[in-house]
């Protein structure tokens, strides 16, 4: 399913592709790289993928028989003069049946509940016991700003991470609230002015993963995309060095320009004012909150 072929194909081809896509969706999850949610590239996305599949299968266990019963009943008990099926107009209660259909959904919700609670708690912990990397993220109108506090470099709409290492994203906003989402690495978390949010992600294989702003923030929202490049630790460290060597520094003046509403391309900065990130959180209300980080 090459991207470039799409433009040349007609509607019927599109239909075939759609049907093909649906077959893929239900039979061969993970085989198509377009279905990013079905192609997790790290432990966080993997946990969430399994959770999605579990809920779908368990729901289907109830839904499919219900649909089958409905088709059968409507077919069998149509009001036709020749219909010989039994007709019991006053039969309106059965303790046994009631117990069955209160019981089945309760059981399924209980099973799902256990897995949901387990995964919800596990996702707040680092996905592996390697030494984590911290990256601070600020959503702006309409771009993503990344700070690497450990190496003092900064980027826009582009972020590199080492593979096999948990990355703790610490997120805030210097604009209306957005949501930070890299589907192949894991689910999203909101960025909110004045508050710090925490998100663990990890890439287990090298690659380029599309990231996006998922919560509507106005005119330029559709263009708030960024790339996450995952590469082995040594290559990642080499990249950090090259940024420190060759990119320009980020000054306060430059940042004040970036805050203004606009759409941006990838940018790299060799350094940034040390207090910049903290100032961003504080000026938007961070000074009124005491932070209890969920590390």
């Amino acid at each position: 399913m090459g991207v470039r072929n799409l433009k040349k194909t007609g509607v019927s081809d599109k239909l075939k592709k759609f049907l093909f896509g649906f077959v893929l969706l239900f039979l061969l999850p993970g085989c198509s790289d377009r279905f990013v949610l079905l192609d997790p590239a790290g432990p966080v996305a993997q946990t969430e993928y399994r959770n999605i599949m579990l809920t779908m299968v368990l729901s289907a266990i109830v839904a499919i028989p219900v649909l089958a019963i409905m088709v059968y009943v409507v077919y069998r008990y149509r009001d036709r003069p020749e219909n010989q099926a039994p007709y019991t107009p006053n039969w309106d209660d059965s303790k046994i049946l009631e117990v069955i259909w209160w019981g089945i959904p309760i059981l399924i919700v209980a099973i799902l509940g256990v897995y949901t609670v387990r995964d919800t708690f596990s996702l707040t912990r680092p996905p592996s016991d390697q030494k984590p990397v911290t990256i601070q993220v600020v959503s702006l109108d309409w771009k993503w700003m990344f700070f690497y506090p450990e190496s003092n470099i900064s980027t826009v709409n582009y972020v590199e991470i080492p593979t096999g290492v948990p990355v703790q994203f610490v997120l805030t906003a210097d604009a209306p609230m957005n949501s930070f989402w890299v589907p192949q690495l894991g689910g999203q978390v909101y960025t909110m002015p004045g508050m710090e949010m925490y998100l663990w992600l990890q890439a287990d294989r090298s690659g380029v993963y599309e990231g996006k702003g998922a919560n509507f923030t106005g005119k330029g929202f559709a263009h708030m995309n960024f790339q996450v490049v995952a590469k082995p630790k040594s290559e990642f460290e080499a990249w950090v060095k090259s940024v420190k060597r060759s990119a320009p520094p980020l000054t306060n003046e430059k940042y004040n320009q970036l805050v203004k509403p606009s759409i941006a391309n990838k940018q790299l900065y060799s350094s940034y004012p040390t207090s910049l990130y903290k100032d961003i959180v504080n000026k938007n209300g961070g000074m009124y909150y005491t932070h209890h980080g969920h590390h």
Binding site: V11, L25, R78, W101, G113, Y190, K219, A222, N284
Partner: protein
């Protein structure tokens, strides 16, 4: 203000300029027609000043269908823009305005009035009452809704539509990021119609609890009345938080406070909580009465008592309680912590338990019945699979770890359209077809109705099934365009085709109504479906006092049992007629709501003189009502006899 509006129109999109011209022409046309046919007096006496619940219900229905048209056009514009990658049909700003108005209109000005229409038309007839408990308040509710909707719909030609999504989250919805009048329109129109909704909730709770016919204990009450009771309980608890959220946002925008602003210590998350404390119960407000409608229709057209009545009642009431404990699932991704998220996730899944029970009970009502697939039953049958799939995907979204991935994606869009269209709209259309003869005295044409049904249904699946897949492809909601490399193009194109099929389905409904007004099968018996509940014991349409004599109820499905007794020849003869006490018609609800509208319009543009004049008008109307001595009037026995003779064709 005038200057601002003129400037806006001059610079607006040609689509908007054309709409403005069309609105002016339509208005002139209506005024001309009313004058030419000398209908002003009729309009005033029969409709604008009426307090009759049946007429109020019909007005709700007409408004809801008009708004469905508007919301549907919004939807088609959006789907056109998304049909191909990099489309240039709508720009970002225009697209943002359209999805904001689409959502707001469909929830508040389509779903709500459709429900209020059914409640108004059916509940008093079904419980053997002559009107609602507070007929005057009922008219106030309607006119507040009407003027709220009017104010909201004026926005796109007078100054600009709201453009921050139907949720209008601050700080995006604050002056700092949305300086135009759009969000003010949103705040004030929802506030005005919201007051009406709360009043309706109170009105129907009292009606159902206090005005049932003698013998109709709660456990003999039809399930539709139960579902309305459950829905109204949710209304009176859920709407006040919305009122507070809108009031605080309005204060921020109009008077410069800082409840939800970015700077000066405002906290936008408070708004998000308040909004969804209303917002999630709101969808249960919309779906609960539909459960009632389904129960009536499935039972009638299976010629059987509803299966598991007590279970049905219990599940309705359980849903209305659980609905308050699920709101956080709209923002699991706002970092509330695993404990909070776990609680709300499990509570959200738990809604599936009573809902599943209802589906099983409908199936077993049909089991060993005699199923007549009429138009209402057809829509009810379409409801079940659609709602089951929508519910199943809802379970996935309720599980917090799944939601981290699917939140804000097209999976969510597909899910809630499936529950709100496949659920609420299918069910409400079923109800509309079912009670149409009772409202107007004729049936809607079956053949045209079937065309509408198949176009709308097939269109629905073609439109929304691809959107689930788009969610798995990572397509986020509210994007006005997307690049070709995403690979979202083909599924979006199919989805757009589906949307247009649904549009054709809607047009068939319009044609069906127009055709049937003239040629539809007349209902001379008052009981065209061989019904089971009391409304079918009355002529169609029911006389304005409903019941010449209030019946005494001995069992559930009261009218069905009366018919059985009559067949057996054991029905007791009726008592003497007595004069009936009726409420007077009054212009005050209309005038008071008009004053609310004037005040709201002034506030939208920060014109405090106009706002104050409007508010004074409101207060004068309230004082007028408080001080006037309106004791209603009595219908004499002779008048009742005459009316009965003419409507029953005796």
């Amino acid at each position: 203000m005038v200057h601002q509006i003129v400037e806006y129109l001059r610079n607006a999109d040609p689509l908007i300029q054309m709409s403005a011209a069309a609105i002016v022409l339509t208005l002139l046309g209506i005024i001309f027609a009313l004058t030419y046919y000398k209908k002003w007096r009729w309009l005033w006496r029969e409709w604008i000043t009426t307090v009759d619940h049946k007429k109020i219900g019909i007005m709700y229905l007409i408004c809801a269908l008009l708004m469905l048209f508007r919301g549907g056009v919004d939807a088609l514009l959006m789907r056109t823009q998304l049909a191909f990658p990099n489309m240039n049909f709508l720009d970002s700003q225009h697209y943002n305005e359209i999805f904001s108005t689409h959502g707001t209109i469909m929830i508040l000005f389509v779903a709500m009035p459709l429900i209020f229409a059914m409640m108004n038309i059916v509940v008093p007839l079904q419980i053997g009452a002559r009107d609602v408990a507070f007929p005057f308040l009922n008219a106030v509710s309607f006119w507040l809704f009407f003027f709220g909707a009017l104010l909201f719909n004026l926005s796109f030609v007078l100054g600009g539509s709201p453009d921050a999504g139907w949720v209008s989250y601050p700080p995006l919805a604050e002056l700092s990021h949305s300086p135009g009048p759009g969000i003010n329109y949103y705040v004030l129109s929802l506030q005005i119609s919201g007051i009406g909704s709360i009043a309706t909730g109170i009105n129907f709770i009292v009606t159902i609890l206090k005005m049932r016919a003698p013998g109709m204990t709660l456990m003999k009450m039809p399930l539709f009345a139960w579902s309305v009771l459950a829905s109204c309980i949710v209304i009176i608890f859920a709407f006040p938080p919305l009122t507070v959220a809108l009031a605080l946002l309005g204060l921020d925008r109009i008077f410069g406070t800082h409840f939800f602003t970015m700077l000066h210590g405002g906290n936008p998350m408070m708004y998000v909580n308040l909004f969804w404390i209303w917002g999630h119960p709101e969808v249960y407000i919309a779906i609960l009465p539909v459960y009632g409608i389904l129960s009536e229709i499935v039972s009638t057209f299976s010629k059987k008592y509803i299966f598991g009545y007590k279970s049905m009642v219990a599940s309705l009431m359980l849903i209305s309680v659980i609905s308050y404990f699920v709101w956080v699932h709209h923002f699991f991704t706002m970092g509330a912590g695993p404990g909070v998220n776990s609680f709300f996730a499990v509570a959200s899944m738990a809604v599936g338990i009573p809902t599943g029970v209802k589906v099983f009970n409908w199936l077993f009502t049909m089991f060993r019945g005699r199923i007549r697939v009429t138009l209402p039953m057809l829509w009810a049958l379409a409801f079940i699979p659609c709602f089951v799939i929508g519910g199943a995907t809802g379970i996935t979204l309720a599980s917090a770890p799944s939601d981290y991935q699917l939140h804000n994606s097209y999976f969510v869009i597909a899910h809630f359209h499936q529950t709100l269209i496949g659920g609420a709209v299918f069910g409400l259309l079923a109800g509309m077809y079912y009670w149409w003869p009772k409202m107007f005295g004729f049936k809607l044409n079956e053949t045209l109705g079937k065309w509408a049904f198949w176009f709308f249904n097939i269109g629905f699946y073609v439109c929304f099934m691809p959107q689930y897949a788009l969610g798995f492809m990572g397509m986020t909601r509210r994007v006005y365009t997307y690049p070709a490399e995403t690979g979202w193009g083909s599924l979006n194109f199919i989805s757009t085709v589906g949307a247009y099929l649904m549009g054709i389905g809607f047009l068939f409904i319009v044609v069906q109504v127009l055709y049937s007004i003239r040629y539809g099968e007349r209902d001379t018996t008052g009981d065209p479906w061989d019904g089971r509940t009391l409304e079918w014991s009355l002529p169609s349409p029911a006389p304005h006092y409903n019941f010449a004599q209030i019946p005494t109820i001995n069992g559930r499905d009261a009218w069905w049992e009366m018919k059985q007794q009559r067949k057996a020849g054991s029905l007791v003869s009726e008592n003497e007629l007595k004069p009936i006490h009726m409420p007077n018609r009054t212009p005050l609800p209309f005038l008071m709501s008009l004053a609310f509208f004037v005040s709201g319009f002034g506030l939208v543009f920060n014109q405090f003189t106009i706002a104050t004049v409007g508010l004074i008008g409101v207060i004068v109307c309230m004082l007028w009502r408080s001080l006037e001595d309106d004791r209603g009037y009595y219908l004499s026995v002779d008048e009742i006899k005459q009316t009965e003779a003419s409507v029953r064709g005796a």
